[in-house]
Assembly symmetry: C2
Homo-oligomer: 203 residues x 2
């Protein structure tokens, strides 16, 4: 049996950066994919620490916070900094990206249809452009990366989430932001990740 | 001039854990407090990397993501783990706490009054109790801490935020959760933090 098991939906969203980091590090794992419509409603959620996925089972432990999992794996596969300030730079970038994700999700998952339409309008026209300009400037300054002028797990975090973000806002976030596009290209050409992106399920 | 400068509102909320970590580490800093009603509307927000505070200026750099700042300071003052898995445990706890904060804030800052009332009802009766039971069990398991059976920056993160969370939900989150109360007590009796809590502004 594989020593490591990822459980997530049949989607990229919050699980893909974890998959990418595992592939980058050549860490063998079971990639368990739950069908959101067919399996999730009856999934035994009480078996999950916070009732949600992704979870990563490793060395008999169940890890269940996706960003913390990414940071942990990044240390294992060598995609972190070498000083506290370098790691701050990476964490800062990841928190910027997570802010963007959270702002988009707050509109996208709004249950009240009228309120959702209103929120998505602001998100598409104000919030997202604001963040993209900031993030693109950071990526430019770091030569196609989000921190330290080199490939770190912040780049993987963004690249793993990009299709999910695009689908929520309804347009391609990197289209008019060449430096963000470079972050994705750089990540998707990294060893292990390149091969995975070529062969991964198309969902 | 002090080598370190924190700029935040005249409140605890997202700034207090940073203040506590600085005091714990006996790191001298200017504690700049902006009045939300009088000063913030005309504050030059374009001078802030993401248009928001807290920011921490240190060694000529402007740090601006509050959790990343806390993690950075925690490394400096010795409130982190000793292995990647130990740090995962702390990061996991912090992300749980941040999930709770984000869920509460999503209701509290809702602009539509009817939608807000609906959301706050679910938050008070379902979301918060669910999280508090989980968090209290974790704090029990760790003897009044959130990770590693010892005092870490996850405890500081929670304690710095507790009054803010209480004010958003309208009740005392630790009242019926003795182990969460212990986390706060343990943090507020830590050296440096104890003296700060006794003399800090009452807002």
């Amino acid at each position: 049996m594989s020593p490591c098991k990822l459980t997530y939906f049949k989607s990229q969203a919050l699980g893909e950066a974890i998959r990418m980091l595992l592939h980058y590090g050549n860490i063998e794992f079971d990639d368990i994919r739950i069908d959101f419509e067919k399996e999730w409603p009856t999934y035994p959620k009480e078996s999950l620490p916070l009732g949600q996925i992704p979870i990563l089972e490793i060395d008999g432990k169940v890890l269940y916070q996706s960003i913390a999992i990414c940071r942990y794996l990044a240390k294992k596969v060598g995609l972190v900094g070498t000083t506290a300030m370098e790691d701050y730079e990476i964490d800062n970038a990841v928190d910027n990206l997570n802010d963007l994700r959270a702002r988009i999700a707050a509109g996208f998952y709004e249950q009240n249809a009228a309120v959702k339409a209103e929120k998505m309008e602001v998100i598409r026209n104000v919030t997202v452009p604001f963040f993209l300009n900031k993030l693109d400037a950071i990526a430019k300054e770091n030569n196609g990366h989000f921190a330290l002028n080199k490939f770190t797990w912040a780049d993987v975090y963004f690249t793993g989430m990009i299709n999910y973000l695009n689908s929520m806002v309804g347009f391609n976030l990197t289209e008019n932001h060449p430096n963000l596009k470079k972050v994705v290209e750089n990540t998707e050409s990294a060893p292990g990740i390149k091969e995975w992106v070529e062969r991964r399920p198309k969902v």
